[in-house]
Amino acid sequence: MPPTFNDNCITCFKCVEICPTDILQKGEKKPVVAYPEECWHCGACMMDCPTKAIRINLPLWLRPLTKRVKK
């Protein structure tokens, strides 16, 4: 569930500070997603991460539905 953190995380916890819906908490090595179901998928955490340690994963049922028009 969103967001996910990779090993680039320097535990500055800027994401914990600014998360609009307050879903993140400080963890030992990385932030912890305490309330995954309250994620707005707004990307504020990813936007402000100084080390590009965050990606936002949309749950399967919220992903864009597409069709490939051009190969």
Partner: protein, 576 residues
């Protein structure tokens, strides 16, 4: 454990409107405090950016024959928005926004937000400017004419935060206001809960400005089944409206009903993708399932309305779903749309997610949520203010939510926020020191923190789902069950059942394990109060006469509604 603070001007909500209110209040020389439920750097509808800002430019628009009166008329009646919400615009407030929009842009520019560029594109408004001067990128997005700026607004909240800090404005992040404090009918401050520490705060203030945002998230069922997947910030849960109602403020109510126009704003399922389907100018177009172009420039509102017959025809022929299709656009057009998305709050992250999913505008068409004519709409409630942004309660101003002043968009928040800050500061300068009611504070502490003591109560999610069930029933009663577009007489019995159930829900005990959950519980409690007034209002007989426009005043026992005729300063051109 209660903490106390005092200030001259207390701004509740630190989004675009709240920041502008706070900055201008501080510029009048008074002490200002902001209460922000999220974090001010990324909070509100523009938290992760805004790329479109409608405005009226005295240097440009008169040359194209586009006057402020045209703009107000267009927003009220003749343009896309006017057609959808016909006659619901408060034209006086809308005119204030239009007149103040140029100054607002200049202020934002002076704070480091880029609006002017060396390069403008063939699809931008071509206009003369003095030699060598950079130009605005103007597109015809919102109204019938070219009056919307595309700009680098991704960090607009960071720039506003800097201006607040520079003025020594006190900012309380994670502070969820729960109650307006009153004494002798005057608003004298607010109480609230720190969402992380659980501390209860009491703020004494000479004047309060409500800037909590224009929505009641989670009041109605979420179309996708996920409350937090939606256009408005999920944290905008009617807190300001509920606090104001409990204090006795007059409100504006837009009833639930049925849409009269087909519209498309979102990717299928991803309801937080608003903007992606309407900010695609000039590259995106709407196609049906056969690949036939229904709308060439969906971002341009006027053609969208005129082409609705194409949309309805495709629906009737079964050529659905519909797609947002960039695949024939030029590289330059796609690059422009991606730049624009990169600055628009809910779109930047979609570009990033697309990379992870291997999706590309050059190859893939994106399915749109189908919103045909006759779809049931949700209801909406806002504060009723005069042109000074003053409510009927002494000591209470509001800049968002207020009755429709234009589109619910950045210019409204910025201009009305700015104006409310000045007016509130002037009120603070001439008023007496406020006195608090200690008994009221004890009651509010008990009311708002009781879920922490209840081990046997319901979770906020349970209560919220039950609220959604009741409001879904209300929506169907008010909109009628018949064919699209026809408004039945509502069932008074049905509405009364909803009221009974709301009253039972209000008395249900809620439980919270921690301060985060406690604030979610308070949000639901606020939504129940908003719901109650909205549902009660629908059985006032006056409601039938003019569809959806009326205001009401909360009374402890029985609300009394007074219909206010809309003042029309600029009548519809098309109606002539």
């Amino acid at each position: 454990m209660t903490k106390n603070a005092s200030t001259d001007v207390l701004v509740i909500g630190g989004g675009l409107a709240g920041c502008m209110a706070a900055i201008n209040a501080a510029d009048q020389g008074v002490e200002v405090t902001i209460l922000e439920k999220s974090h001010i750097e990324r909070s509100g509808a523009a938290g992760t950016g805004n790329d479109h800002f409608w405005y009226w430019d005295p240097e440009i628009h008169p040359k194209f024959g586009w006057t402020i009166a045209d703009m107000v008329r267009d927003i009220s009646f003749d343009g896309e928005y006017g057609k959808t919400k016909g006659g619901l615009i408060d034209q006086e407030l809308c005119e204030i926004v239009a007149k103040g929009s140029m100054d607002a842009v200049k202020k934002l520019e002076s704070w480091g937000i880029q609006f002017k560029y060396d390069k403008i594109y063939p699809w931008n408004l071509q206009y003369e400017s003095p030699k060598g001067e950079k130009k605005y990128r103007i597109v015809p997005q919102f109204q019938s004419e070219w009056d919307t700026l595309n700009y680098d607004g991704r960090d607009i909240k960071k720039r506003l935060t800097e201006q607040c800090v520079k003025r020594n404005i006190q900012i309380f992040n994670r502070l969820a206001a729960t109650s307006l404090l009153t004494k002798d009918n005057r608003v004298v401050g607010a109480a609230g809960i720190d969402m992380r520490t659980g501390e209860f705060y009491v703020f004494k203030a000479k004047v309060v400005v409500l800037a909590t945002g224009m929505d009641q998230s989670r009041l109605f069922m979420a179309p996708s089944g996920n409350w937090f997947n939606q256009q408005s910030p999920p944290t905008v849960t009617g807190d300001g409206e509920a606090m104001a109602l409990r204090a006795g403020a007059e409100v504006f109510i837009l009833q639930a009903g049925k849409t009269s126009n087909a519209g498309f704003q979102y990717f299928k399922n991803l309801y937080r993708s608003s903007g992606i389907a309407t900010t695609c100018y000039p590259a995106g177009k709407y196609v049906n399932s056969e690949g036939e172009v229904m709308i060439k420039h969906p971002a341009v509102r006027e053609p969208l309305r005129k082409k609705r017959e194409n949309v309805e025809k495709s629906i009737s022929e079964g050529k659905t779903p519909f797609y947002l299709d960039f695949t024939d656009a030029t590289e330059e057009e796609i690059a422009y749309a991606e730049w624009s998305y990169g600055n628009e709050g809910l779109c930047w992250v979609i570009l990033e997610i697309m990379k992870d999913l291997g999706l590309d505008f050059r190859k893939d068409a994106f399915e749109l949520a189908l919103e045909p004519t006759g779809r049931l709409t949700d209801g909406f409630l806002a504060l009723w203010v005069d042109t000074d942004l003053s409510t009927n309660l002494p000591g209470l101003y509001a800049c968002s939510p207020v009755q429709f002043a234009g589109e619910v968009a950045a210019p409204t928040a910025v201009v009305l926020g700015w104006r409310s800050g000045e007016k509130a500061a002037k009120y603070a300068q001439k008023t007496t020191d406020p006195l608090l009611d200690d008994k009221q504070i004890i009651n509010e502490l008990e009311r708002t923190t009781s879920p922490l003591k209840n081990d046997d109560g319901f979770t906020w999610q349970e209560a919220n789902l039950e609220l959604n069930n009741i409001m879904d029933k209300y929506k169907r009663y008010i909109a009628g069950f018949n064919s699209p577009g026809i408004k039945d007489e509502i069932s008074v019995n049905g509405i009364n059942t909803c009221l009974d159930q709301l009253s039972q829900l209000k008395s249900a005990k809620l439980k919270a394990k921690n301060p985060h959950e406690l604030v979610r519980c308070n949000e639901v409690m606020n939504l129940i109060d908003v719901a109650t007034i909205m549902v009660r209002a629908s059985i006032e007989p006056e409601q039938y006469e003019n569809d959806v426009w009326f205001i009401g005043k909360m009374d402890k026992k029985q609300p009394k509604f007074k219909k206010i005729p809309i003042k029309i300063k600029y009548p519809s051109k098309e109606a002539k």
